[in-house]
């Protein structure tokens, strides 16, 4: 017997939640307990009184599963609003990555040259290494990391996606 797999779509969801103990565990745990995927997750409080946080989750699944994920998120008491940026229309997505490369000679020159093309900033340098800071779409970061691999990639730290709707509307 084979276990069946269905075709997945990538969706970026943002959740406005109460900033209180356990909220993140509730959201993240709901994904695991119901077998949904989390590709990336970011969370930080977003207003002055620290009462509300915004969670951005990149997930994937077949369309009915995405709909179910949204409905299940909405059932959680501290979740006030869920927006599917992917469905809601034009939106921007950005991620930040720190990328460490080590090497000498040509590799070092090539790394700097590529970083320049990708608008990555050098935030730490030694004679044998660089740490680059790069922001952009996840795809751009993927490509940059792949290139760095060829010139001496040591490690990567990525923040996961943050996203907002384009235009004047609130998501």
């Amino acid at each position: 017997m084979q276990i069946k797999q269905e075709k997945s779509e990538r969706h970026v969801l943002t959740l406005m939640v109460d900033n209180e103990a356990g909220t993140l565990a509730r959201v993240a745990g709901m994904f695991t307990s119901r077998g949904y995927n989390i590709d990336s997750l970011t969370v930080a409080d977003i207003n002055e009184d620290h009462s509300t946080s915004r969670i951005t989750i990149v997930t994937n699944g077949p369309p009915p599963v995405i709909d179910q994920i949204i409905a299940q998120c909405e059932r959680l008491v501290p979740v006030h609003k869920v927006t599917d940026l992917t469905d809601a229309g034009p939106h921007v997505e950005r991620e930040l990555a720190l990328v460490k490369v080590a090497g000498k000679g040509d590799n070092r020159i090539e790394a700097i040259r590529l970083a320049d093309i990708y608008r990555a900033r050098v935030i730490d340098a030694t004679t044998g290494s660089f740490v680059f800071e790069i922001t952009g779409s996840p795809a751009k970061i993927d490509t940059f990391v792949a290139l760095m691999r060829e010139v001496g990639l040591v490690e990567v730290a990525r923040t996961g996606v943050a996203g907002l709707m384009r235009g004047s509307d609130q998501s």
Partner: protein
């Protein structure tokens, strides 16, 4: 404001919510609360014998009274013992507020004595949970917890209270919050569309569920009227039995895995399906891609996540099901709507009914379990009993052969299928309805899962009746092994059974044994005549199976009606589908 301890604030908040009974069990981490309950003039505490019993008793109380059930248990093992009941209430949407003790806040995370991460453990089997770290939060948390438990789709809410928060005193009170805004009324346009579809249908069906019971007695009334107006037949899930009278001429019986032939055939063949407060559970749908292939589906549910979860519907209506039905009735009447001619549909239903799918073979020597339930029904129906069940064949036979004309009379563990639910649920139901006849229809295996609760019934003089259909097998497991594993009965024999009559007597109950078909009525009468708790050991045919049955992986039209249609094996796909 006068300073009060956390424990006092808690008890006062419970009183403010109208709580009359708490089911619980003491321990170190709840001693301050128990002290506040000592000889309390208004709050009655029912001491169970195991915390699982407390949770199920609270469920039974809630289901039978329509009020939330309240549980109080200690930290660590007290809380973990209650988890099954919390999960059970979660799947069956039963309103519970469960208060658990916790180690003092400064000890949390240190693997302290009787520490368990109750909030972590119950996070995904409760509607919501709280860890209260400040006594000033207690009153608003309790208020929000009751609101969450009872409004919208009901469910269990857990409040974990560290011991030092119970002891500390405060004169302050945090602001009340209410982050809960369940839908009530449906969209006018959706309701009119639903009526349009229903009135044009040539083969409509009302597929109803436990949501109607949860919505309250008015919803059951509305269902009766809606069925009358539309002329549509009515079927129900296990959880919804009683919302529509089984004596009504539009009643098709229960649907699903052990549902009637007519209910399942009508579900398969209908052209418009109106699902009211049910959730297309896998025990109801059978094989998904063969489920009611030609119908337009309308789904009314208060929980948006239930809509399109497993079955895609054409019209989803997010509303309280009672309110939505009332809206439908009003518009149907004001527009003087007429249904299409349904005579052909009803004549097809008549043909399916003629199969008489609930018939079972006669047996002169031993009591057929179906007969036992039939007689129990006949001899008690005038008393309008509350029936609880355990889980297994007896549960399905009770659903098939005991008939309910009113809501809140049928208490069973549907979603989680928890053996051991029935006796504590009967105790809870009896607490809420002191004068009612409450009977737990049990299996000899299930009843042993919470057998200790006999002591609770004795202590509180609760005259519950436990009617065990004793077939000496975990019958439902045996049936599946017969159907799927060529009769290799791996660990499904109920060996080393106690003498139930002697056991009953040792708890101060009356014990009755019934062994022959001819003694059935007398035995039941004897049980009814006794003013106190009774345990009946009704010895039934050992190898009877429950039919009709939709085997796993099959569609509604592939029902097994009799044991001679059983092949004894199944392919892997079917085996994997629970």
């Amino acid at each position: 404001m006068k300073e009060k301890s956390g424990a006092e604030i808690l008890v006062d908040s419970l009183i403010a919510q109208g709580v009359e009974v708490v089911f619980g069990y003491p321990g170190g981490a709840v001693l301050p609360i128990y002290d506040s309950l000592f000889e309390h003039p208004k709050l009655r505490h029912v001491l169970v014998r195991h915390e699982a019993g407390a949770a199920h008793a609270a469920e039974g109380y809630a289901r039978a009274t329509g009020k939330p059930g309240v549980v109080l248990v200690t930290s660590g093992p007290g809380a973990t013992n209650a988890v099954t009941g919390i999960a059970d209430a979660f799947l069956d949407s039963i309103p519970l507020v469960v208060i658990t003790g916790q180690v003092a806040t400064n000890l949390i995370g240190s693997d302290a004595f009787q520490e368990a991460d109750t909030v972590g453990i119950t996070r995904h089997c409760s509607k919501h949970n709280y860890l209260v770290k400040d006594p000033a939060d207690l009153a608003p948390v309790v208020a929000e917890a009751f609101d969450l438990a009872t409004r919208g789709r009901p469910g269990p809410v857990v409040i974990d209270i560290p011991k030092n928060v119970q002891v500390a005193s405060t004169g302050e009170k945090q602001k009340e919050r209410n982050r809960h805004n369940p839908p009530s009324k449906a969209d006018f346009a959706d309701i009119t569309q639903a009526i349009e579809l229903l009135s044009k249908a040539k083969a409509p069906i009302l597929y109803t569920g436990g949501g109607i019971i949860n919505s309250g007695p008015a919803a059951s009334e509305a269902l009766r009227e809606l069925a009358e107006l539309t002329g549509a037949p009515v079927t129900s899930t296990l959880m919804g039995l009683g919302a529509f009278p089984a004596s009504g001429d539009k009643w098709l019986g229960m649907l699903g895995m052990h549902g009637t032939y007519e209910a399942n055939m009508a579900m398969n063949q209908c052209d418009v399906m109106l699902c009211l407060g049910a959730r297309f559970d896998d025990r109801v749908t059978g094989r998904l891609d063969a489920f009611s292939p030609n119908s337009t589906k309308i789904h009314v549910d208060i929980d948006r996540s239930s809509i399109n979860k497993t079955i895609h519907v054409d019209l989803g209506i997010i509303a309280d099901v009672g309110t939505a039905m009332k809206q439908m009735i009003d518009i149907w009447k004001s527009r003087k709507t007429k249904s299409a001619d349904l005579s052909e549909w009803w004549s097809r239903i008549k043909g399916w009914r003629a199969v008489e799918c609930l018939n079972y073979p006669e047996n002169k020597d031993s009591i057929m379990p179906q007969l036992a339930i039939e007689r129990l029904y006949e001899l008690t129906k005038d008393k309008k009993p509350i029936i609880t069940t355990e889980v297994g064949q007896h549960q399905m036979w009770a659903a098939q052969h005991f008939h309910f004309d009113e809501p809140n009379k049928w208490l069973t563990s549907g979603g989680l299928g928890t053996m051991g639910y029935g006796m504590p649920a009967a105790i809870g139901a009896q607490m809420g309805n002191p004068d009612a006849l409450v009977i737990d229809i049990a299996g000899e295996a299930s009843i042993q899962m919470n057998i200790q609760e006999m002591g609770t019934a004795t202590q509180y003089r609760l005259p519950v009746k436990i009617f065990i259909l004793n077939n000496e097998w975990m019958g439902m497991v045996r049936q599946w092994q017969e159907l799927t594993y060529e009769g290799r009965y791996s660990s499904s024999y109920s060996d080393s059974l106690p003498d139930f009559v002697a056991l009953a007597e040792s708890y101060g109950w009356k014990g009755i044994r019934i062994e022959k078909p001819g003694d059935l009525d007398a035995g039941i009468e004897e049980m009814l005549a006794y003013d106190g708790p009774v345990m009946v050991d009704c010895r039934v045919t050992k190898d009877a199976n429950c039919f009709p049955m939709i085997p796993s992986g099959a569609s509604h039209t592939e029902m097994i009606l009799h044991s001679d249609e059983v092949s004894g094996t199944m392919d892997d796909e079917a085996k994997a589908l629970v």
